[in-house]
């Protein structure tokens, strides 16, 4: 996926609710329009990250599989 992230969050090895908690915390410090890349291998995060985006209004640009984990790209809402 050809998306340039402004910040990368390493959530590999983290379990619920930490990937989401760190996402919320990281997003707080970002500007609208900026993109956060979350790297996570928790299976629960696969459902949680889209759900979190839907509830908070931030946009899930896409996800892609990497070596043993997923990369999620989320754009902060304006």
């Amino acid at each position: 996926m050809d998306i340039q992230a402004d910040k990368v969050q390493d959530s590999i090895g983290q379990l619920c609710p930490m990937p989401i908690a760190f996402m919320a915390r990281n997003m707080r410090g970002m500007e609208p329009g900026q993109v956060l890349e979350i790297q996570a291998d928790d299976e629960g995060a696969h459902a949680d990250i889209p759900a979190w985006c839907e509830q908070t209004g931030n946009e899930l640009l896409g996800e892609e599989q990497a070596d043993g984990y997923y990369r999620y790209f989320v754009r902060k809402a304006g």
Binding site: G13, Q14, L15, C16, P17, M18, I20, A21, M23, A24, R25, W52, Q55, T56
Partner: protein, 157 residues
């Protein structure tokens, strides 16, 4: 943001149940909800510093049997006099689950309000000074009901 609130009443003091309570609070706060946790009865144990408490004989006995502290509480099943607590902690740590103290810190960092029930504190002879500094206020049932009535989701754990 009165239109986006969550309220969690934490009645239980066992490790597994407070784990659920703090996890839900983290999730709600992370989703941008104005989240409040009310600690009552055994729930108070998870916001105590862990020092000895009590004034009278029975209060002191209670403080001696369970002096509180989030890391000291055993699971609701299979505690086996503390062995179960050790086992669950080890299993959780091995799998990379956050510790209860980290979870509570995260809650505070995400703006979760921690409120303690005054009546439970009176009964169990627990002072404000026995509670962790992150506790915002000591309140009664009316405050909880007001928050809950404004919340879209409520939990009793």
């Amino acid at each position: 943001m009165a239109d986006n609130k969550a309220t969690i009443v934490v009645f239980s003091g066992e490790m597994d149940k407070i784990f659920a309570a703090y996890t839900i609070a983290t999730g709600a706060a992370a989703a941008g909800m104005d989240t409040t946790m009310f600690f009552t009865f055994w729930g108070i144990k998870s916001i105590q510093k862990g020092n000895r408490t009590g004034k009278g004989l029975m209060g002191k006995m209670l403080g001696l049997i369970n002096r509180g502290g989030i890391e000291r509480q055993g699971p609701s099943k299979f505690n086996f006099g503390g062995l179960g607590r050790w086992m669950f902690k080890k299993m959780m740590a091995d799998k990379g689950v956050a510790k209860l103290t980290e979870l509570r810190e995260m809650c505070v960092d995400l703006g979760v309000h921690l409120l303690a029930c005054k009546m439970s504190m009176d009964v169990m002879e627990i002072d404000r000074t026995d509670l962790i500094d992150e506790v915002e206020d000591v309140v009664g049932v009316a405050k909880m009901i007001k928050e809950a009535s404004e919340s879209q989701i409520q939990f009793f754990i």
